[in-house]
Symmetry: C2
Subunit: 273 residues, 2 copies
């Protein structure tokens, strides 16, 4: 089995087969940035680097990049997409939001809709939530037993490994916020009438299950962070830190993919404009 995964060094990488205690992992670090502006300037640099790399990825059509975004409600999945990927050519980027399964999706195995949405060679695919939802909320609410969860982890690992063997680079991000920060974000939606349309009573109801979600995520991270498809736990209380930390990993990954423009096989000498 040949897996050429780009080498990525990051303080937020979860090493395979390690115990994870989310409360021990920072949510609020500011990284090396002494203020928000410094982080934003760095993000802008990453975006400038990403554009030509994406063009090469698209033109070469040899590999693809799958980005999985998970996190507690309000952790900032939508914001991550809008801040990091606004500036990328939408022709080379597909975003798939995973919502409550449709009746058809619900009649399939849980990986079916994820597989259908995998980015083809040349594309960046972003999963806004993902197949990991199926080892999350159902587990918190007792619909998936520990034994069934273990089976699903094995299925997920096999699935992702198969993707990687087929030239998909898989990067998974857990946007890590504190319980207090979630409270502040929910409260700010209540306080600001222009944000009322965003309010889902489910977010408030699920907040009560916070400790169970923490355990479910720890179990996910411990069982599915693999060398070929690693998880990164991104400190996300500061949105600007979240953005710049993720974009750095993406630039490093694209950079490490050894992307090449296609070689022309056309006999140029025979063509006349």
């Amino acid at each position: 089995m040949k897996i050429a995964f780009p080498k990525i060094r990051s303080p937020w990488l979860i090493e395979p087969d390690t115990k994870v205690r989310l409360e021990k992992l920072s949510t609020a670090t500011r990284g090396n940035f002494h203020d928000e502006d410094a982080a934003k300037k760095e993000l802008e640099k990453h975006r400038v680097k990403m554009a030509p790399l994406q063009e090469k990825l698209y033109a070469g059509a040899q590999k693809s990049l799958l980005i999985v975004l998970q996190g507690m409600d309000t952790a900032g999945k939508d914001g991550t997409i809008s801040h990091i990927f606004t500036g990328i050519n939408p022709q080379g980027c597909d975003v798939t939001p995973f919502k409550v399964p449709t009746p058809l999706e619900a009649r399939h195995d849980f990986l079916w809709r994820a597989h259908a949405a995998v980015p083809p060679r040349g594309m960046i695919g972003i999963f806004n939530r993902s197949h990991y939802e199926d080892v999350l909320s159902p587990r918190v609410h007792g619909m998936v037993s520990d034994k069934a969860a273990k089976e699903r982890f094995a299925e997920i690992n096999a699935f992702e490994e198969m993707l990687v063997r087929n030239d998909v680079v898989v990067l998974k991000f857990f946007l890590h916020i504190s319980h207090a920060e979630q409270g502040r974000r929910l409260q700010s939606r209540l306080d600001d009438p222009s944000k009322h349309w965003k309010i889902s009573p489910a977010d408030f109801a699920e907040r009560k299950f916070w400790p169970k979600y923490v355990s479910a995520y720890e179990s996910i991270l411990e069982n599915t962070s693999k060398k070929h498809a690693p998880w990164f736990v991104i400190p996300s209380d500061h949105k600007w830190h979240r953005n710049v930390a993720i974009s750095r990993i993406l630039v490093d990954a694209l950079d490490g993919m050894d992307l090449q423009y296609p070689v022309s096989t056309v006999d140029i000498s025979k063509l006349k404009a």
Copy 2:
């Protein structure tokens, strides 16, 4: 039949049921811009206006926007997408390139794959080429008769009208370049080794059929520019003019769609963070 189409005034609009002679329509105008920089500044303004309009379109999920891009080879369909839509949230934007039909697509009617790619409410959908390809190259090469073309025009008009009645705003752009400009663009690909990978011998072969493509496009424009789904013939020899002319129409269209954020039906008083 209720069709609420945004009012768009543009010098590039093709009025329904008018005779079209492409050689009478400008390819090289510079609009009101005395230089490229002025046009680029204006484009930037449009992009800034577009972002919150797109957010509202996405949040409201009541209407969608379908953008059809057509043009001769090298007219700049890809460049239009990268210049105008880089800066838009990719979560709200799907780009569909229409290539040579797959075996499955070829076994269906010509509108099948187009229908499947129509943007759902809330989304911007960009067709890079489109169902108009089926009244274009096959017609130039005698595989579709005039009679068959007329039938397809009627089918296209009925299809697009149905979309509009179902809250899709349909805008169609023909990127209009001169024969000489196409020659320059093809030549520049030959001259620059870093562009060789972009060269398709088909582009050079099809160039010989230029007058037939002109007729086929005139026929398309005459038969399918409708009040509810208009064509715009965009002078595109200057790429910066093309970009700013299209982005202006898009901003006007989004502005005229009377977009609204959803109204919250949640009883806020019962929620606590």
